[in-house]
Amino acid sequence: MKKALFASVATCFLLPAGAMAEDTIKIGVLVALEGVFAAGGADGVRNVELAVEQAGGMAGGKKIELVVAPSDTTPDTAVRQARKLIEQDGVDIILGPLSGSEGIAMRDYAKTVPDKTIINGISGALETTWVDPAPNFFRFNLDGSQWGAGLGSYVVKEKGWNKVATVAADYSFGYTNFLGFAVDFCRSGGEIVERFWVPLGSSDFGGVIAAMPDDIDAIYLGVGGTDAINFLNQYEQAGAETNLIGGTIMADQTVLTSKGRAKDALIGTPTSGPLATDDPSPAWQAYVKAYQDAFPESERFPSPSLFGVGYYVAALAAIQGINEVGGDLGDGQAKLREALSTKPLDTPLGTVTLNENRQASGSVFITEVVEDGAGGLKVELKSRVDNVNQTLGMTPDEFRAMGLPSRDTPDCTALGGKG
C-alpha cells in the first residue's frame, strides 16, 4: 500500500509542468499520511483520485490537476503544508484536512487567504464551522456532534433504555460526540445517571467498571481504538452485566477487526455515525462498487473508510462547484463560493446542504453490531436520520445557550431529561 501511496504522490508531483496553463485548475489535497490516521489518509487520496477520474479529469471545461500535501495530524504541520500548497504549488482549492485540531487551525488559516477556497476533508470538530467560521471554509461532512444525533432517541424508543451511565474519552472529540448523543437522549426523556471521563490512553478500566451504578439500563461508551478494546476486555472479565451503547469511534473498523474475543462484548450494541457499510441506497452501492473496481483489492479497504468517503464528498463538491461556474475562478473565486454555498450536493451518503456557517446538514446512520457469520463482526443498518443540522434541531440561539461541548455540557435536565 505504501508503494502505491508513494506512486500516487510522485505522479502528482511529476505531472507535466506544461499543463499548468490557464486551462487547468489545481486542487491541493491536504491529508494525514503519517501517524495513527495514515491508512485512512491514504484512502482519502485514493477517493479524491476516484472522484476526479469519474469526472473524466475535467471540471468546468478545465483539466484538474491534483497536488498531494502530506500532514501528520498536527495543526502546525497542516498549516505549513497548506501554505506550501498555496504559495509554492499555486493551488486554487484545498481539500482537507483530516483531523479535528487540524480543522480548527485551517479555519484560522483560511481567513488569511480569502481568495482561495478550502473544502474540509473529514475533520469533525464542532468549533471549526461554529465558532467564528471562515467565509471561505466549507464543510460537506457532518461534525462530531451530528454523528451522535439520533442514537439517543433510538435507544430510548426502540430499546427502552432510559437510564445510562457514560464513559467517554476526556478530550474534545469525546465531549463533542457525546454531546450529540446526550442532546437527543435527554430530549427523549432519558436519564444520565453518572458521567465518567477517562484520559486518552487509559489501559485499565477495572475501577471505572466497578464504579458503574447498579440500576442502569446501559453504558454509553465514547472511547475508541485500543482504549475501547481494553474496556471491552475488562468489562467482559468483570461479568458484563448490562447493555452497551457505542459512540461513533467505539464500533469502527479498528475495534471490529481486532484479534481476540474482547470485541464480542459489542454484539448487539447500537451505535451511530456518518455512514453504514451495508446502506442499501443505490447511490452508496454504486459508489462502493466504483471504489472496489477502481483499485486492486490489496491496495484498498474492503469498502471505503470514513476518511475516504469524506475526501470523496469534498472532491465531488469541488467538481460540482467548478462545473457550476464553468471554470470561472476569477474575482477571488466569489462565484465558486456562491455555488458551493447554495447548491445541494448529491453524495453517496444522501443529499447534503450547507447552512449559513457553510456546515453540512445530512444523514446519520444508526447501526447495530452483529456477527458476520465468519467469526468476525460487522455493523448492520437499523435506522437512518435525515437532515441532521449543525444545531441538532435547535435554534442557533438555543444551541449557543447550551454551551460548547465539555464535561458538563449538555445539561441533561435543561433538555427535558434527568441527571
Binding site: 485499565d204 481476540g260 474475543r261 474482547a262
Partner: protein
C-alpha cells in the same frame, strides 16, 4: 525488620498506621458518612485490587529490567519490545493450541532465547560502554517494533483467558450490607486474581533464589562489585547470560498477562518501557523488593487516580517519581553507592 524499627521508630509507626487504615478500609463495612464522602466501598475495593493487579504486571516487567541493570549496569531500552513480543507470541500459541497456560513456558523459552542472543552477540561486545549500549538498545527497540508491526500489523490483540478464569469470582470480602441485612460480597475478575497470585509466587521465588541459592549469591555479589567477583574466578559471563535470559523471559510472560487483561498493539512496548523505568526509579535500581514496592505504588496511584481524580491520574505517577527523585534519589529501597 527489627533493625528498621529501632532506626526509624517514627516511620515505622506511620507505616503501621497506614497499613492498619488500609486493612480497615478493606475488611470493615463502611459507615454511611464515608460512603457519602467517597462513594461505595465496592468502587474503592475494585480500584485498590485493580491497582495491585496492575502493580503485579508492572512488577513482572520491571523485575527483569532492574536485575539486568543492577548486575550489568546495562539500561536495556529494548525491554518493552521483549514484553510486546512475548505478548504476540503468546497470542499465536494460545490461538493455535487453545491453551493459555501452555503459552507461558513457550513464550518464556522463546523470549529468553532472544535475550541470550542479545546479551551474547550484542551487549557483550560493548561492556562498560553505557552510552553505546543505550543507543544500541534504542535502535534495537525501533527495529523490533517495526518487525512486529510487519508481522502482526497495526490492529489490537487480546488473548482469551481460559474458561476457568473467565468472568468474575466472589471474594470473601464484604462489599456492602443491604438494608435487608443481606451481605454482598465483592465480585472480582478471576483472571486478575490468578495474575496477582502468580506475580506474588514469582516474586517470592525470585527472592528465594537471590537470597538462598548459590546463583543468587553470585548475582548479589555481581551487583555489589562485579570486577571483584570476576577476579575471584567466577565465570561472570554465564551469570550475565542467565540473568539476561531470565529477565527477558519474565518480560515475555508479562506480555501474555498484559495481553489477557489489557490488549496488545504497537506502542505498548514503549508504554511498558516507560512504566518499568518509573517503577525502577521509584523502587531503586537493582533491587527486587524495590521493584515490587515501586510497581505497587505506581499501579495503585494509576488505578485509584483514574477512579477518584480521572483528570489528574496521569500526573500522579510522575509526581511520585519527582518526589522520590527529590527526596530519595537512590529510590525507596535503593542503596547509595
Amino acid at each position: 525488620m527489627r533493625g528498621f524499627y529501632s532506626r526509624r521508630p517514627i516511620w515505622s509507626l506511620i507505616i503501621a498506621i497506614a497499613v492498619a487504615i488500609v486493612l480497615w478500609l478493606i475488611f470493615a463495612p463502611w459507615p454511611e458518612g464515608l460512603v457519602d464522602a467517597i462513594g461505595a466501598k465496592r468502587i474503592f475495593l475494585n480500584a485498590f485490587f485493580g491497582g495491585i493487579t496492575l502493580g503485579a504486571l508492572y512488577f513482572l516487567v520491571a523485575s527483569g529490567f532492574t536485575l539486568i541493570f543492577g548486575l550489568m549496569r546495562n539500561v536495556n531500552l529494548a525491554h518493552g519490545s521483549l514484553y510486546l513480543l512475548g505478548g504476540y507470541v503468546g497470542y499465536e500459541v494460545s490461538d493455535a493450541t487453545g491453551s493459555w497456560v501452555l503459552a507461558f513456558p513457550v513464550v518464556f523459552i522463546v523470549v529468553a532465547a532472544l535475550g541470550l542472543i542479545l546479551q551474547n552477540q550484542v551487549f557483550r561486545r560493548m561492556e562498560g560502554e553505557e552510552l553505546r549500549q543505550t543507543m544500541v538498545t534504542i535502535g534495537l527497540s525501533v527495529v523490533i517494533a517495526d518487525i512486529m508491526l510487519w508481522i502482526w500489523g497495526g490492529q489490537s490483540y487480546t488473548i482469551l483467558s481460559p474458561e476457568w478464569l473467565s468472568g468474575p469470582t466472589v471474594l470473601p470480602i464484604i462489599s456492602s450490607i443491604k438494608s435487608s441485612g443481606d451481605v454482598v460480597y465483592l465480585k472480582y475478575p478471576a483472571v486478575r486474581i490468578a495474575i496477582l497470585v502468580a506475580a506474588i509466587a514469582i516474586g517470592i521465588a525470585m527472592w528465594l533464589v537471590l537470597n538462598k541459592s548459590r546463583l543468587g549469591m553470585l548475582i548479589r555479589a555481581g551487583v555489589d562489585d562485579r570486577e571483584m567477583l570476576a577476579a575471584s574466578g567466577v565465570r561472570i559471563q554465564y551469570v550475565f547470560l542467565a540473568v539476561f535470559a531470565f529477565g527477558a523471559g519474565l518480560a515475555g510472560m508479562a506480555g501474555i498477562v498484559g495481553g489477557t487483561f489489557q490488549s496488545l498493539s504497537p506502542g505498548e512496548d514503549t508504554r511498558f518501557l516507560l512504566a518499568s523505568l518509573v517503577v525502577v526509579i521509584v523502587g531503586g535500581m537493582g533491587s527486587i523488593p524495590g521493584a515490587a514496592i515501586g510497581a505497587l505504588v505506581i499501579g495503585l496511584s494509576e488505578q485509584i487516580g483514574l477512579v477518584y481524580a480521572p483528570t489528574y491520574s496521569v500526573v500522579f505517577t510522575f509526581l511520585i517519581m519527582a518526589a522520590v527523585l527529590a527526596f530519595r534519589p537512590q529510590g525507596l529501597l535503593g542503596s547509595t553507592r
